[in-house]
Symmetry: C2
Amino acid sequence: MLGARVTTQRFAQTSRSTPLKALLPALPGHAHCGDYTSGGGSLHSAFRKASPALALGLHAWTRATRLRGVRRFATAEGNSGGMKAVTVSKYGDATQVMEITDVEKPAPAAGQVLVKNMAIATNPIDYKAAAGVLAPGAEAPDKRLIVGWDCAGVVEKAGEGVTDFQAGDNVWFAGDITKDGCFAEYTAIDARLISKKPESMSFEDAAALPLTFQTAWEGLVEQMNVQKGKTIFVLNGAGGLGSIVIQLAKHLGLTVIASASREETVSWCKKMGADHIINHRNELKSQLAEVGYPTVDYLFNAHENDRLGELIQLLSVDGKIAITFNASREHLETVDFQTMWMKRQSLVHTFMFGRAMFDANPEMVGGVMASCAKLVDSGIIKSTATTKFKSLTEIKEAIKVQMSGKAMGKIVLTV
Amino acid sequence: MLGARVTTQRFAQTSRSTPLKALLPALPGHAHCGDYTSGGGSLHSAFRKASPALALGLHAWTRATRLRGVRRFATAEGNSGGMKAVTVSKYGDATQVMEITDVEKPAPAAGQVLVKNMAIATNPIDYKAAAGVLAPGAEAPDKRLIVGWDCAGVVEKAGEGVTDFQAGDNVWFAGDITKDGCFAEYTAIDARLISKKPESMSFEDAAALPLTFQTAWEGLVEQMNVQKGKTIFVLNGAGGLGSIVIQLAKHLGLTVIASASREETVSWCKKMGADHIINHRNELKSQLAEVGYPTVDYLFNAHENDRLGELIQLLSVDGKIAITFNASREHLETVDFQTMWMKRQSLVHTFMFGRAMFDANPEMVGGVMASCAKLVDSGIIKSTATTKFKSLTEIKEAIKVQMSGKAMGKIVLTV
């Protein structure tokens, strides 16, 4: 636990003045890492290429949400004392620019709850946000940025108008990417985005699930509307996202083929419930055929889109592919849209933060978290946490693992 | 009715040797015409640009289906006498290369029925096929091509193994684009692709529906899985496809905004059931807002994809767009995929011929036709036939209307 008196740790000098465009290509990590990039190689360059596009997109919504006044919960600070938080005051390499500082403890605005965070989990968005993709072109945030969007904790206080949560409730959430994250002792969060956490699971194991479960649910249930008895291929099955996609797809009655490339990640995918494993270091189509599925009904790309064209060729007639990151022009040029048309195939996008960002039924986010809690307490969904750190002060080590491209499942820290 | 002794009409000399690439840009028409292009203008060029891509795609499946041996019903000819048919023996402008000739009457192979065609309807695919898009690079078909893929008729004989249809049954179908079409006195067709025609509707009114209803059903039900109470925008509402999309969308409980630009097409869209009409000659977004829908949940593009980027910007978060033609590179460059990703939007393709072409549950085609017949006999779906010719010998005039870009609803000919 991070006590109130833990010494502030500064991981790096933050006085450097490095332009964003110089920082982005230097980022070593992948999204939803898994073992996809262990060993390095040509796939490594995909994230570098995708990032500027991602940055532009995030810039677009930042403007859009500002214009639409979505930032209506301007959390009050300063009236409840201080707290420790992982902050970024200069964009750059996360292992260098993240620091633990004293900030003002937020107070819950109307519609929010104040949560005492017990455990948090890392995601690729953490180091991307630290690198400045949420504010392309800027060298530093307007005020310090608190990163982190995966959390389990205890409600300390419910804000005005909140009736479904009260002090003492154990809750979990991914949160809102347009606001301060959860790598801190406390987070003030829109009550529509949270639910009670599973009773049968520790805070640490629970913190691993919100962001990735939301994404898996959105892709499988809301966007692809998968049908029992069909087949899905999950690229990068051992990553944080892939691990939960496998579990949920199995629960929904699909035959699941996942990809992994190392002995331990192959075992992990089997543990998550995958029926067949193929190696994403090799050509995919022939391997799918070898395990009995020349084509698949659905495809969940739990990775960047550098192999988009190859992936779509794995789809059956009427097949659907869910992608979790923006498809760049370069990615799209690999796709044979003529064949997609004749084979009646669909391209669907998942972006779990979209509901809060665009005020598009954000209460459904809390609903999905509640569904997940039930699935956990029923023994259907297991935690994907594999790597645990005992204190938020170890954030630098945790982020290093996240950025290594060798993470399997999720990395969790006790706050 | 086209009697057995009607004089063969030749609409054009077919001895010219015009290369395909020279013919394609000269095509004047649009798909699913409606009034979209009346008055001509810049939209006119879209089809010309899209056609080479379409041609390449169709070439791809032609090869694919040949390789996969889908052409298993090699209809026997010559053992049942002769018949009149609209044939093409040299690719080119449909009004010039289509001719009525005597060909051998087909006999039903195993799994097929032989249908005496009573009425047929035109579609853009007719003049595209006559121009050679089904065999890009070729100047003439290997043997004469019989065009036409919308028909209502009477079963004359059931082939081996066909148990659900018998001589005397009134049936309807769009057919199989890899085989001879229905602009003829008889068609031998896979029994899985047909159903009984509606009892309450004439052959002429029925012939207007199969191809477009299949496409509307595929887009609304199978691909977009539209939900009651949501909103849809139908671009080119008065065309053959748009007219049936409006009706089916209303039946499925959607609020329907359709586009039309002339007084008569506006009235027609209202008759089809549209709740609101906007003018596709003007910018769309502000007009949608004016009728109360700044964004829509679904969009059915019953037209080429030259405005794809503009259309996708009309979609809500979680919105879906169904397109009915291949999206070319040029079309795709107009799309902001970053915003599509963040708004969690889907791009779905409809191609009703895909089921037969790729042997992907072709029996569902017959099932959809049966559903349509029930909807017609329940008074829910009306015929979209607007223009009727009394004889197949008038095919040249009918195709001229189809190619004019001013067709409203469908053009039907009594055989």
